[in-house]
Amino acid sequence: MLEIPCPWCGLRNESEFVCAGEADRKRPPDPEAETDEAWADYLFNSTNPKGVVREWWWHVAGCTRWFQIDRDTVTHEIAPVKERSK
């Protein structure tokens, strides 16, 4: 049971969150400029690293914020990522 640092609510159990995938997966600004392969890479592929991954988490049961953390997929150590201003 992970303890996730929500930037607003503080430390909470993983059960309050949704792990929402790798943060470097960004929707291409102009999808039509992408080749089929590049588009498939965006849609389906992951880096899926063994080690630290920057990922989105959604505090769905709390403040409903989406935020990023750096999480080690082996040790489960977590480091918060400073929020960029909106």
């Binding site: 049971m1 303890e3 929707r27 588009w39 849609l43 489960h76």
Partner: protein, 978 residues
């Protein structure tokens, strides 16, 4: 009866009667089943797993491998350790895995056949024929106790707890650590497995701070329990250490009378592991015979329970511990026949203790055989050149100590082999786990207390920036004899079975065989021989397995390493794990204000997605489902129906960019939707497949109200919120879920207008109120929003009302509709109406593979928009072309044919060159309106195959059908617009 006249914590004034294996015995309050059996001279407590050898108690604690019983008198529980069962009046228990009895077990024939059952023999035979045939017999023989047959009546709860410090184990080290940590103001929780605190001080008389150990325990614990910042639980086992310092524990005797057990989720900032150590057996032929017991266990039975396990004891050791127990044996009146010490050079201090009590010591001595099967007559041993036999009825042995590093390892901590203590002790730390005392391989009381003090001070004391705890110093204690051990393995040529895993009957020969066959990893040896896989999970035996493997391989024990420690530390009942969630609590059943009315009015209920339950249909007495659905559907088509649409998701979207957002979310346009109007929208996933559909209204220029499918609502909300917060952060839109705020009731059918017309209202239902318009106003004084939306294909008014007024309005509508035959309809009927109309359902026709063109919904896809979710994938689909499954209609030749959802489609004979699987029926029904069977289906290249014939192949029926357009009723939609 071998019970001392005094001593122990048993209450001799309170005798308890109990039954063991059908025989009546007596023990006392304060006994465990095991201690009562010892006191009653019951030697054989069970049979072993494979050879069915008779077994006696080996230990006194939760690590007991032999004394497994079925506790008949308390819910018929299997595989409980007799050492952990408190004695109760009328307790009844039986040995597991023996037949007809523990004393005389027919399966002991296995013992004779043992040469045919070496480790791994299953893998090498029974290849001919079916394993099922053989396994039937093998399964009967396996399995220890039997599963209870009655429902578990116990009640449980699961709680969350947060603490600064968790201390596992209330032995001297745990108590001392609690004292320091709580003294500095931290919240402290202490868990201890036993009924009373004190750890090994409960069993062994020691001095701390110049007083009796037991007095020190009661004074310190008493003070600690009075502190506000201390939570103290006895009879509570920490079973696993999980991520981020979450420890799970089971409280076996909650104070709350209604609870059987409580499961704790404890989140701690720091965890002190003070779980102590357990004694390890020595390996020698016959080491499993009843009457062979661990030395520390024997001492515990004597000290705590005044139960004496034998009259003449022989002590066998490779370390110093038993020397300190000689006095215990002596004062219990046991004749000590001598000490056989494997070591060549016991220490002066050890020999001094022995000579003080006139106990002869043979050094460099090795047991080569134990005489007696069901009880011991004597022991043969080798010392120097000669072989000797000594008479005894009890062998007490000690192979050293295993630190209980389970929790430390669960946390991810490494273990390392320490030569001096011949034990795997905590190595590199993971998480905030701090082992102290025996769990850390510190077996000396004095050093353990000091270690606990030092660790606690460094974590919680002044040096860690906390206020002084006032207890910076360790209490004074002295050890009778310093711990020394020399691991000496048995000779390879020894005859007779020497066990390393008692429960799974794994012997030294099995380990050697595994290594010989090239199973060299310790994990391989474990799996091939099953050593360490029994109910005790290798707590006492695993280090011996590692030692033997290292000897066979000629490698260091450190490089052989341990197998992975898997939670739980001790078995946990599934009842406790399930907590209080039973029946309706395991999944919430979400309700609407109308749910209760629906149930009262006879609805058969079904799951509607997102944990809502909704009416399936409303059977009248003596009506079949088909009858009821036909009646409900006919009402909608000819007069008036009503249903509760509240479970649909409803989201309010506000902000200047809402139109733009909707343009990107849906395949069609929404920025040009006029205020006061609604529009049907189709949402795709980014991979181009159908996701959701629904009607969205524009309430104000910057405020839209979106509705979406019940089951998809959560996913749609997440989808939109993600895009707003992570991708399109520049869009000014707020998303607010108002799904439960509004109840939605759909009045549908040609007489719907008449029904609403009966009510007092400021809403005009005249022809200017067009399809997909909405109007705000009141019905009978209740604030409502009425919208012209239709999911049935008929004239339909969707009345939205705040939850607080919903039931009232529903009843008003039912009353008003009475004269028009208003009929509540269920989801099965809605399904029929949908199929007739050919309305596509993402959950059915979508099937995770369908794009809007496949579904014949190209009309709602605006490919001229610069971008929308799914557009890029659609472009790819269009470009690549090729065979796709399209939504089609099917009309079976036999108009009454029974067609089940999910039926497969095959080419009709001679229809074309196609062969094999062609698709499947996504939804089929008998249409009461058309008086025939109709179906929607996904069919390969279906749009090109209208007029062709296919076979509908179901599990029970098959029929031939013609492929048609997927719409069977009012194709132009005149009725719903009317």
């Amino acid at each position: 009866m071998t019970r001392l006249a005094s001593g122990g914590v048993i209450d001799r004034q309170r005798p308890l009667r109990f039954l063991f294996n059908g025989k009546r015995y007596q023990g006392y309050e304060g006994d465990t089943l095991a201690s009562a059996l010892v006191a009653n001279d019951v030697l054989i407590v069970g049979r072993s797993f494979k050879y069915h050898r008779p077994r006696g108690l080996l230990t006194c604690g939760p690590e007991e491998p032999n004394g497994l019983v079925q506790l008949v008198s308390d819910g018929d529980q299997p595989n409980l350790r007799a050492t952990e069962i408190p004695l109760r009046e009328g307790l009844e228990a039986r040995s597991v895995n023996c037949w007809p009895s523990a004393r005389f077990d027919l399966r002991a024939i296995n013992s004779v056949l043992a040469p045919l059952f070496p480790a791994g023999f299953y893998y090498k035979t029974f290849m001919a024929g079916k394993w099922d045939f053989y396994s039937r017999f093998i399964r009967q023989a396996a399995g220890l106790g039997h599963s209870p047959k009655e429902r578990d009546q116990g009640r449980y709860e699961r709680v969350n707890h947060h603490t600064d410090v968790l201390i596992v184990g209330a032995g001297p080290a745990g108590i001392q650590a609690a004292k320091v940590a709580s003294g500095s103001g931290h919240d402290v929780m202490v868990l201890d497995m036993q009924e009373s605190p004190g750890g090994h001080l409960l069993f062994h008389p020691r001095q701390i701070d110049g007083q009796a150990g037991s007095d020190w325990v009661s004074r310190e614990v008493g003070e600690l329990q009075d502190r506000d910042n201390v939570t103290w639980l006895q009879s509570t086992t920490a079973t696993g250490y999980y991520d981020h310092n979450m420890v799970i524990a089971v409280e076996h005797k909650p104070a709350e009378s209604w609870l059987k057990e409580r499961l704790w989720h404890i989140r701690a900032r720091k965890v002190i592991i003070a779980t102590g150590a357990v004694e390890r057996p020595l390996i020698f032929p016959g080491n499993d015979r009843p009457g062979v017991m661990l030395a520390d266990a024997a001492a515990r039975y004597i000290r705590r329970f005044a139960a004496v396990p034998g009259k003449k004891v022989l002590i066998y050791t490779n370390n110093s511990t038993p020397y300190a127990q000689l006095e215990t044996f002596k004062t219990a009146g046991i004749e000590i026949q001598g000490i056989l010490d494997l070591r060549k050079n016991p220490s002066e201090a050890e020999l001094c203790l022995a000579s003080k009590l006139e106990v002869p010591v043979s050094v460099d001595a090795r047991i080569t055989g134990v005489q007696g099967r069901s009880g011991i007559r004597g022991v043969t041993y080798q010392s120097g050149a000669g072989s000797k036999t000594v008479r005894c009825d009890l062998v007490c042995h000690s192979g050293g100590w295993n630190p209980l590093i389970h929790l430390y390892s669960h946390a991810g901590g490494r273990s390392r082999f320490e030569q001096a203590s011949a034990a795997f002790i905590p190595g590199e730390r993971a998480q905030a786990a701090y082992p102290v005392g025996g769990a850390n391989g510190t077996f000396s009381l004095a050093e353990g207390l000091k270690e606990a003090t030092d660790v606690a001070n460094s974590l919680f004391g002044e040096s860690a920036g906390n206020r002084a705890s006032g207890t910076p110093n360790a209490p004074a204690a002295e050890d009778e004899v310093p711990y020394r051990i020399d691991q000496i393995w048995p000779e390879k040529g020894d005859k007779g079975k020497a066990f390393v895993d008692f429960q799974n009957d794994v012997t030294t020969a099995d380990i050697a065989l595994a290594v010989r066959e090239n199973f060299q990893s310790i994990e391989h040896v474990k799996r091939y021989t099953t050593a360490g896989m029994a109910v005790d999970q290798g707590k006492i035996g695993n280090p011996n397995v590692i030692g033997l493997v290292s000897r066979e391989l000629g490698e260091e024990q450190a490089s052989v390493g341990t197998t992975t420690f898997r939670p739980p530390f001790a078995p946990v009942s599934f009842g406790a794990i399930g907590g209080s969630e039973r029946g309706p609590l395991i999944i919430p059943a979400r309700t609407t204000p109308i749910t209760a009315w629906n149930i009262e009015n006879g609805a058969a209920m079904d799951e509607a997605g997102a944990n809502f339950r909704r009416p399936f249909f409303f059977p009248r007495p003596d009506e079949t489902m088909e009858d009821a659905v036909a009646r409900e559907a006919t009402a909608v088509r000819t007069s008036c129906g009503i249903y509760d649409g509240t479970p649909l998701g409803t989201f309010e979207l506000q902000g200047p960019d809402t139109g733009e957002l909707l343009n990107r979310l849906y395949t069609n346009r929404f920025d040009n939707l006029p205020v006061g109007r609604g529009r049907f929208g189709l949402m795709l996933r980014e991979d181009g497949r159908l996701f959701d559909d629904g009607v969205t209204f524009r309430v104000d220029p910057n405020r839209y109200l979106m509705s979406c499918g019940t089951g998809a609502a959560g996913a749609v909300y997440a989808h939109i919120d993600r895009l707003l917060q992570t991708e399109w952060t520049d869009l000014k839109v707020y998303l607010v879920n108002v799904s439960a705020a509004w109840a939605t009731m759909c009045v549908c059918g040609p007489l719907a207008r008449a029904v609403l017309g009966k009510l007092e209202s400021d809403i005009s239902l005249d022809p200017t109120f067009r399809f997909l318009d909405f109007r705000d106003g009141t019905l009978e004084g209740i604030n409502v929003r009425v919208a012209r939306v239709s999911y049935t294909g008929e004239l339909s008014f969707e009345v939205n009302v705040a939850r607080r007024s919903a039931l009232k309005l529903w009843k008003i509508l039912m009353e008003a509709g009475k004269e028009f035959g208003i009929t509540p309809v269920g989801s099965e009927t809605s399904g029929v109406l949908r199929i007739e109309k050919g309305f596509i359902s993402p959950g059915h026709e979508g099937d995770n593979i369908t794009n809007p063109f496949d579904a014949g919904m190209g009309w709602i896809v605006d490919m001229t928009k610069p971008d929308f979710i799914g557009k890029r994938s659609l472009l790819r689909d269009v470009k690549l072309g090729g065979e796709r499954q399209h939504v089609v209609g099917l009309l079976p030749d036999d108009e009454q044919a029974l067609v089940a959802d999910g039926s497969a489609l095959l080419p009709a004979q001679g229809s074309d060159s196609r062969s094999g699987f062609q698709g499947h029926v996504t939804a089929a029904c008998f249409s009461p309106t058309l008086k025939r069977t109709i179906a929607l289906a996904l069919l390969k290249d279906g749009q090109k195959r209208h007029g062709e014939r296919v076979v509908i192949s179901g599990l029970e029926n098959s029929c031939v059908a013609t492929v048609t357009e997927p719409v069977f009723y009012d194709p132009k939609g005149e009725r719903m617009r009317g």
